[in-house]
Subunit: 176 residues, 2 copies
DNA sequence: TATTGTTATACTCTATAACTATA
DNA sequence: TATAGTTATAGAGTATAACAATA
């Protein structure tokens, strides 16, 4: 889990590579030694996780790049979206829903609170927990944030192909 | 990009949750307020990256757990597989192929070298680069490593469903 | 006792920059 | 000047543990 499956493919690099490599050897079994650019993938070819990781790395890089003007990262984005869709819920509920560690969520919420996009209020039912809300400023930001996220999604659809994008979303969203 | 899209779903948690939750409300529009366990996902529902990230986190957790007896992580695994399939290639070539940073690959290879699974030899053509090989010990380990990785892959197929696993692998492996 | 939120720590990964030695 | 490899650093993310307040 260090880099390979991690690093996956980089938007710029893979684009550049495709553009530069003028269809060299491509086919011909273990031609690795003959083609300095294309290595054999071996059994990685059979690992769904390998491809998922590569795609996920591309997605994060593009997302971060696309929302760089706002300085919002994927996890922060997902927390804002969940709070917007479920105002008043506790940190514990948000964390469970997004599979974010309590400790990590605490720090993440501090960041969003410092930017005055979310607020914690004492919960009525359980005085141990905090109810989470978007602030007025946070609500005002959401359209701009969502527009950029949609821009990223469009780029992703272009990257994988519209049909593949649709199929992947269908396969992944309707389970679990 | 911090936790949410990151954390995705956890093998143990999601399994436990599915087992524990006796089909509560499930349907009924924005039922968030009524069901303490199921929050609305909002526009995350439209983000392929959200689901890809969740699956990727599950994959890494299961992979790491499955290979814990060997103490091999995904990126290390992918490097071993690529070196085995392409013996004698340089760090630069391996790194480009797997999208691993030079600096990161250096440290990763040190770890594998310390375990005596790979060896660097001076390259013949270019004395700046190192040619990478599996050692005898490394070669002897590969069957055991691959068997565990295959075990992980089987668990992944079970997790997403055999049909979905096949479709995802087909969609993701034949592009880029 | 268990849960909620917080703080702290150690480790991994990521992204750079700087450096050397070769080309 | 560019490439191959190394070292170092700062910033995220992950996984724990420990703690206070509340249930």
């Amino acid at each position: 889990m260090q880099d390979d499956m991690q690093s996956g493919f980089n938007a710029r690099q893979s684009a550049a590579k495709r553009a530069n490599a003028p269809e060299r050897i491509r086919r011909g079994g273990p031609a690795a030694a003959k083609n300095p650019e294309r290595l054999e993938r071996g059994v990685l070819q059979n690992h769904l996780g390998y491809f998922v990781r590569r795609l996920q790395v591309w997605v994060f890089k593009d997302f971060i790049h696309t929302l760089a003007s706002i300085g919002l990262r994927p996890a922060q984005y997902s927390v804002l979206v969940i709070i917007e869709a479920n105002p008043g819920r506790s940190q514990a509920a948000i964390g469970r829903s997004l599979n974010i560690e309590r400790a990590r969520l605490t720090r993440l919420l501090h960041q969003l609170e410092r930017r005055n996009w979310i607020a914690r209020r004492p919960a009525t039912a359980n005085s141990r927990s905090h109810a989470l809300f978007l602030t007025g400023e946070g609500k005002k930001m959401m359209p701009r944030i969502k527009a950029l996220a949609a821009q990223h999604e469009a780029r992703l659809a272009e990257f994988v192909g519209a049909s593949r994008h649709r199929q992947l979303l269908g396969l992944l969203s309707n389970f679990g």
